[in-house]
């Protein structure tokens, strides 16, 4: 049976990590390290494809497999196995992780060439793939959490990969720590959620928790709290309000890392987790509404910030936050399939955009400011064209992939009656189109604004081939889910339907509005996207003073957006500085210096004081000692005789 090979797909990246991690420094050939790193993931992709094909050929009822390996933890009533659940959802995620992961590994061979930490980079990447596969394939919460923490660790290691480089106000190490700490806050929520799951259901296995949960009535407080805690975990990992601020800073890492971890795979872990727990979330309508609102708010807010950023990777980072918001909006309105569809297409075009930006940064010698780019189209033809494909795909222009997935989410939100959320998503779509074309135009069109010193040239084949493959996937990826109203079969969502069957039964959302409404909405969103693209093209591809004019006219708003809604400052003022001030004055200077050091030093001082009194007895004159000795003997004798 093919699905039993999944263990091999999981263990191979770990083997790659061990080989490159232990021997990498000794292996002189970068090519060898790169091939080991890429091949382990590539074989994983082949295995996943094989399993997928076999799954396609088997009846729907026989598509879920549990692959048991060994018992991991047994304590009292808790028993956790290292076991993997191969089903429609996890195989889809596995294909994304290994497929996109493989392309990015290949790209990294070119991108990281000559870096002294080349072997370290590939070791971390492989470890990441291993952790991510554990996350998406786990058949219980604890193993999922192992992967969850593992990807967080790799994210930390890779953001701070160039740990001695300057980044904004600090070093890349600071950005790595920020990402790690924000993820920890989310992980705390996940842990609480997991405890509640165990307390309520007495098990952590998906296959026993979810059927049992389905018997609960809708809206039980314990499940609401459970899902809220799990969703807090998802906001941390997937960079949603209120924990999204780490993702833009995560751009301190090398660009392939941004593409793999902070766009295509790791940040979608939260989406996957919510989809995996769809039954629990369906039982908690309050949580679902919060998920939808948070998603829509994040989508809109991040898009507005993306409008004015000038760092090529920052724009893409905010775009990622925004697109993740769309996915959560989809999940929140009960369209789990649509959310995952967007996850899939987003993995394609966002990985493409990041890799394209990497090629640009590479060509301009680490220049990331789009104000110092421009006119690169003729120098980087492949990158420019593929980037444009990605930009149009994310903007949502048919027939590229982003259109189908985003529209599916918006349509589901609208037809389920959440029209305010639809408006937020709709506005976000226009903004997305605007900032993507702005990014493209400022980078590749117009005058050359880079210095005379640099001679940009197209990237090597290892980098352009992944770009071409991803551009191809971004262009056609949407055909997996053409909605029925457009004559398609919505294949991807039907593929996933059995996964969400129970959740949908619980929700039993009624979708109102017929095909005509769907057409109108589609026209509207394509229209707003085209409008956004048009203005961005008009203002940024040629010299134009409109942006400058707008910036001075609405300077308050402009600065507000440029400073990212001052969220960092808000967190600084409300959490970080009270915490550090409190730690300094109370914990450090008060308790540590005052109480703990005080006790230790006080004890020492007491001993010193006593000995200062006692040491006058030690005169150094032997006869004094002898006298005391004799007196002592006399006293003792007197006492004995007296008694």
């Amino acid at each position: 049976m093919a699905h039993e090979l999944i263990g091999l797909a999981i263990i191979l990246p770990l083997a790659g990590f061990v080989i490159n991690g232990l021997l990498g420094r000794k292996l002189k050939s970068e090519m060898l390290i790169g091939i080991i790193g890429s091949a382990t993931v590539g074989i994983g992709f082949l295995i996943a494809s094989y399993i997928f094909v076999e799954m396609l050929g088997s009846p729907v009822s026989e598509r879920v497999h549990i692959v048991q390996f060994f018992p991991w933890i047994t304590a009292g009533s808790l028993s956790v196995n290292v076991a993997y659940q191969v089903d429609q959802l996890s195989i889809l995620m596995t294909l994304i992780v290994t497929g996109v992961g493989f392309l990015i590994h290949v790209y990294s061979i070119g991108y990281m060439r000559g870096d002294p930490g080349f072997w370290r980079f590939f070791a971390y990447l492989n470890l990441f793939i291993f952790a991510m596969l554990n996350l998406v394939l786990a058949d219980n919460f604890l193993l999922l959490f192992l992967g969850w923490e593992g990807v967080g660790l790799c994210s930390y290691l890779l953001i701070g990969f160039w740990y001695d480089r300057k980044f904004e106000k600090g070093t890349t190490g600071d950005a790595a720590k920020k990402a790690f700490i924000f993820n920890r806050i989310g992980d705390f929520g996940f842990l609480i959620g997991m405890f509640l799951v165990f307390q309520t259901f007495g098990s952590l296995d998906f296959r026993s928790v979810f059927p049992e949960a389905a018997a609960f009535p809708v809206g039980v407080p314990v499940i609401t709290w459970m899902t809220l805690a799990l969703f807090l975990g998802a906001t941390g990992k997937s960079a949603q309000i209120p924990l999204f601020v780490w993702l833009p800073d995560a751009m301190a890492g090398p660009t392939p890392v941004s593409a793999l971890i902070h766009a295509a795979t790791m940040v979608t872990a939260g989406v996957y987790m919510v989809a995996r727990c769809s039954v629990l979330f369906a039982l908690a309508p309050v949580t679902l509404l919060i998920v939808a609102i948070v998603g829509a708010a994040t989508a809109l807010m991040a898009a507005t910030i993306g409008l004015v950023q000038n760092d090529i990777k920052k724009v893409l980072a905010y775009s990622t936050v925004s697109q993740l918001g769309y996915m959560f909006l989809g999940l929140g309105v009960g369209a789990f399939g649509a959310g995952l569809f967007h996850l899939l297409t987003h993995a394609f075009f966002k990985a493409l955009l990041f890799l394209g930006s990497g090629a640009v940064i590479h060509a301009l010698h680490e220049e990331q400011d789009i104000q110092k780019m421009g006119g690169l189209k003729s120098h980087l033809p492949v990158t420019a064209r593929t980037f444009l494909v990605g930009a149009i795909a994310i903007a949502g222009i048919p027939p590229l992939s982003g259109f189908f997935s985003k529209d599916e989410i918006l349509w589901k939100a609208f037809s389920a009656g959440y029209w305010p959320l639809w408006i937020a998503g709709f506005l976000g779509a226009g903004l997305t189109a605007f900032y993507m074309i702005r990014l493209y135009s400022l980078t590749f069109e117009g005058k050359e604004r880079w210095g005379q010193g640099s001679h940009p040239h197209e990237a090597p084949l290892t980098m352009t081939v992944p770009l071409l493959v991803l551009a191809f996937l971004s262009a056609i990826g949407g055909f997996m889910g053409i909605p029925e109203s457009l004559g398609g079969s919505n294949a991807l969502e039907h593929w996933l339907d059995p996964m969400f069957e129970r959740a949908n039964e619980i929700l039993s959302t009624t979708h109102t509005g017929g095909e005509s409404a769907e057409y109108v909405l589609m026209m509207l969103s394509v229209g707003v996207a085209l409008a956004g693209m048009f203005f961005a093209w008009r203002w940024y591809s040629k010299e134009s003073d409109v942006p400058q004019l707008l910036a001075t006219r609405f300077s308050g708003l402009y600065r507000w957006l440029l400073n990212k809604w001052h969220v960092d400052e808000l967190y600084d003022a409300t959490v970080v500085s009270p915490l550090s001030k409190g730690s300094e004055t109370l914990l450090w200077k008060g308790i540590d210096v005052g109480v703990i050091d005080g006790c230790v030093n006080g004890l020492a001082r007491l001993v010193a004081m006593v000995s200062r009194g006692l040491r006058v007895v030690q005169t150094g004159v032997v006869q004094n000692y002898a006298l005391l000795f004799v007196v002592g003997v006399v006293v003792i004798l007197a006492w004995i005789i007296g008694a």
Binding site: Q618, G620, V621, V622, Q623, L627
Partner: protein, 101 residues
Amino acid sequence: MSVPLPYYLCLSALLFTIGAVGVLTRRNAIVVFMCIELMLNSVNLTLIAFSSFLQDMTGQVLVFFVMAVAAAEAAVGLAIVIALFRNKQTVNIDEMNILKW
């Protein structure tokens, strides 16, 4: 016919007291040293006296041990005194007070 036991004991106590007072009051290390010998020998005298009084040889055997140890101690003690004299040109023990805080 023989001297009664209390005589020996009184003499011994007298010798011991002289030795002890000498140890505590004299300043010359050699004299202090000899006073220690005096104390040792007063104890030896007590042992011999009791040994004879009780008709038990154990006391006499113990005296031999004490004498042997005293001889060894005398050698070490004199060596220390000579070493001290070489260092400080004096054997006045009031000036040997460096072993303190």
